[in-house]
């Protein structure tokens, strides 16, 4: 216990394995993710990085035919333990998806505070206004859309929608923010803005970002996990992984020899 507090791990897995039907996606994953820094998970398509991310907030199990073994600790709580309500876990861990997925039955304002609306948390108008402004500022989009909060989300561009998605996830003040290739569907300028947003969040919240863009991982992350074929090959400081990889496979991947 003492040791864990020193290294401040936020999420830790123990022999985590996951399946889609009979296909094993994750094989015995043992990793630690440190608190309030940005961890990138990289690896070729189909290596299981998204599945790993979706195990952290128990989203993987919602797909029919999936199976999970092993443990995932959020602080000291095994989120796959008996009597753990996945719904309550998900309230502590926010997620941003590959494509913007705002709720189209709500306007932009309601989307940002949807975590409160949908979980029936009653707040005053003033509190809600503050949350909306703060979250949109954190997501770096307040100035752009502050006069359009009552508009339908489809009137925003894809990049703007994605940043509102980030604001929506941040509005409920999660301890951990999971990001599944958040810029893969965006143009370079929107990507740049979203990356900027992510960088500014770095020290407030534990962020885990899955990306197939190695330059992006190198640019923004503190720690990097390299995965291949459902296994973690190497993990450590981003600067070291990208300059002095210990494994041949890592080197081959980051130098673009495969992947």
């Amino acid at each position: 216990m003492q040791e864990k507090e020193v290294i401040m791990s936020k999420i830790r897995t123990e022999n985590l394995s996951a399946w889609f039907g009979s296909l094993q996606i994750l094989k015995n994953i043992n990793i630690e993710i440190k608190k309030n820094i940005l961890t990138a998970i990289i690896g070729p398509s189909g290596c299981g990085k998204t599945t790993l991310l979706r195990c952290f907030n128990r989203l993987h199990e919602l797909t029919p035919g999936t199976k999970i073994e092993g443990k995932v600790f959020l602080d000291d709580l095994n989120i796959y333990g008996d009597n753990v309500d996945p719904v309550l876990i998900r309230r502590r861990i926010g997620m941003v998806f590959q494509r913007p997925n705002l709720f189209f039955n709500m306007n932009i304002y309601e989307n940002v505070i949807s975590g409160y609306i949908l979980n029936r948390k009653k707040l005053s108008k003033e509190e809600l206004d503050n949350i909306v402004e703060k979250s949109l500022r954190l997501a770096g989009i307040w100035e752009e859309i502050k006069d359009r909060l009552r508009d339908h989300p489809s009137e925003l561009s894809g990049g703007q929608q994605q940043r509102v998605c980030i604001a929506r996830a941040l509005a409920v003040e999660p301890e951990v923010l999971l990001m599944d290739e958040p810029t893969s569907a965006l143009d370079p300028i929107s990507t740049y803005k979203v990356e900027d947003t992510i960088m500014s969040l770095k020290n407030h919240v534990t962020i885990i970002i899955v990306t197939h863009n190695m330059q992006q991982a190198a640019r923004i992350s503190d720690e990097t996990i390299f995965m291949y074929m459902g296994e973690v090959i190497e993990m450590g400081k981003t600067s070291e992984i990208f300059t002095r990889p210990k494994k041949k496979l890592t080197e081959d991947y980051i130098t673009g020899r495969f992947g």
Binding site: N57, L59, L62, P64, V87, L88, I89, R90, R91, R92, I93, G94, M95, F97, Q98, R99, N101, L102, F103, F104, N105, S114, G115, I117, L118, N119, H152, S154, C165, R168, A169, V172, L178
Partner: protein
């Protein structure tokens, strides 16, 4: 195949499509035109406020039948819409098992059963034990016709909602049932409303099942355990009668019925235009 041949085939196909459209719409407009011509000349205010009169007596209306049609539609909706929507939700959101497969299968079989059979079925199940024809029996028969249609449109509209939207809600820590009520159903509402309107339009035009269930009534009736008049059965009776006055009322009734159904369909189209997810 070279460009010229493709172009010729394309033109032939376009011609066939246009021809089919013309043939189809020709009959549609013929029917509508006939109804308009013969129906509108018989329409007067008495039709909407008076009860049917015996043959030979001038005047008389079908006010009770117009109200009756709506009463039957309300009974049918209050049974058929909840069951249909809940079945549709079950198939899409909790599917992936045997029960869901059978729910869908049974619903599809049900939608193929001739409505007169459903009428006979309800006659045996409700009318005989109650020992009388009733509005309730009519409503039940129509609701059975409605269920598979509503189930189908619910299924289709819920499938249009991308899964990523459900996941966005789950990821915020929203339970599944609330995700369905607060996100999925409202997002699918335009499709649902469209489907409900279409289903209503369909049951309001049914005659056969009503002959066995609600029968007809020459008087005002709001009691659900009594026979009730409906536009379709009234049209059937009047059109079959040898009396000239009744025949002209039948035309007027047919015109009113088609107008109601047309309005429902136009409303359905209007709701279908509402904004949805593009993916």
């Amino acid at each position: 195949m070279n460009y010229r041949v493709r172009k010729i085939i394309s033109n032939i196909m376009l011609f066939l499509c246009t021809l089919s459209f013309i043939i189809g719409s020709f009959f549609l407009f013929w029917i509508l035109g006939d109804l308009l011509r013969k129906g509108i000349s018989s329409i007067n205010l008495n039709l909407f406020i008076e009860l049917p009169k015996p043959p030979g007596v001038p005047g008389g209306g079908i006010a009770n039948a117009i109200v009756g049609t709506f009463v039957l539609a309300i009974i049918a909706s209050s049974i058929g819409i909840p069951i249909g929507i809940l079945s549709g939700i079950y198939i899409v959101e909790y599917g992936n098992n045997k029960i869901s497969f059978w729910t869908r299968f049974i619903s599809e079989v049900l939608s193929g059963i001739p409505t007169i059979i459903i009428g006979v079925f309800v006659y045996i199940l409700v009318v005989i034990p109650m020992k009388r024809f009733s509005a309730l029996a009519g409503g039940i028969a129509l609701s059975i016709i409605m269920i598979p249609t509503i189930t189908k449109v619910t299924e289709e509209s819920l499938k249009m909602i991308p899964n990523s939207v459900r996941e966005a809600s789950y990821a915020l820590g929203v339970p599944k049932w609330r995700t369905i009520i607060k996100i999925v159903l409202p997002s699918a509402s335009s499709g649902l409303v469209t489907g409900i309107m279409t289903a209503l339009a369909r049951i309001m035009g049914e005659t056969a099942p009503l002959l066995f269930t609600s029968l007809n009534n020459s008087f005002w009736n709001i009691r659900l355990d009594q026979p009730i008049a409906s536009l379709t059965v009234q049209i059937f009776n009047y059109a079959m009668s040898p009396y000239k006055e009744w025949k002209s009322i039948a035309w007027a009734g047919a015109f009113i019925l088609v107008l109601i159904i047309l309005i429902l369909n136009v409303l359905a189209k209007y709701y279908a235009r509402k904004r949805g997810y593009y993916e």
